[in-house]
Symmetry: C2
């Protein structure tokens, strides 16, 4: 960020009055340009004991498997965003059955939210951002070909609890720079 | 948003290739400037059966009561942000005991997260953004002088469940343009 998006002036970086951290401040129109974390919303679409996964047709993590998820848009709710991403990426219509995981990914300034979801039918199909979409029984999940650590952790918790049918909200943080790390947006 | 924050050129508003909604796009450096919802993080600080509230020293809602909360910053987690805001606004040190409510406020592009929290001691004090900070027993909460509908709803649920000591995660949406509505950030 170098220029004021409101007036075009060159920005200064300083701590504004009554603040305690450096911001991009416009010396001309005085606007303070805050930068805040983004929300990624997605679902865990279930059909009987199977889980729907998408193989990514885009970078980052082209060719790896993920739960349907993406950046929340303005003027929608978290649940609407999760439903939209599930439809866009997997062509799947689901009914949400509760928030399942909230995982902070602070090094890329993101918070990932996954909702439990029941598939309404089996008419799913790969969207523009997916190479293929498939149902997996828990033992068949491609654990070594998952795109993101937040998806990996969510699927681990979910499949573990699936047998007992007793689900708990998981609030977690991902710090590791492992191979599963989400690329900066 | 009128100017590219990366190169200073005048932005165009159009639907980029492989997208499905209008974005601010730079015709010069080609950057797409996405706008996404912001996260507000806060706590419900409890001491025995009492709840800590702050009276706002800033707009919007100057003079009204709220739970300690504010915009999540980059490079922190939701829990770290909730702890930071509780310290900044109420001078209070707490231990978090779980996510309690997640409330979408789509008309102002926000998601509010409140964590249950136990006060570690009674040394709280008003921060720069608070006129005063006080503990309230549930019957004494100033229901008609609360700043935000998300705080109102969270306190209603919490005080209702407090008697039984059995807390449930609440996922909700606030659409109303009532007197409690959060001002656009």
């Amino acid at each position: 960020m170098k220029f004021c998006s409101d007036c075009g002036a060159v920005l200064e970086f300083k701590i504004p009055a009554s603040d305690n951290r450096e911001r991009a401040v416009c010396p001309s129109c005085k606007t303070v340009h805050y930068v805040n974390p983004k929300i990624v919303v997605g679902t865990i679409p279930v059909w009987k004991d199977q889980i729907l996964l998408c193989r990514r047709a885009i970078e980052p993590r082209y060719g790896l498997w993920t739960l349907p998820a993406g950046f929340m848009e303005i003027a929608e709710t978290t649940e609407q965003g999760a439903l939209r991403e599930t439809l866009e990426e997997a062509g799947a219509r689901v009914q949400l059955t509760g928030l399942y995981s909230m995982i902070d990914v602070p090094h890329v300034h993101q918070v990932h939210l996954f909702f439990k979801a029941d598939l309404l039918d089996q008419t799913f199909t790969a969207g523009e951002e997916s190479l293929e979409v498939r149902l997996f029984s828990p033992p068949d999940i491609p654990w070594n070909e998952l795109a993101f650590l937040t998806v990996h952790n969510t699927l681990k918790w979910f499949t573990h609890e699936q047998a007992a049918g007793n689900y708990t909200l998981h609030v977690d943080v991902v710090h590791s720079a492992s191979k599963y790390i989400v690329a900066a947006s």
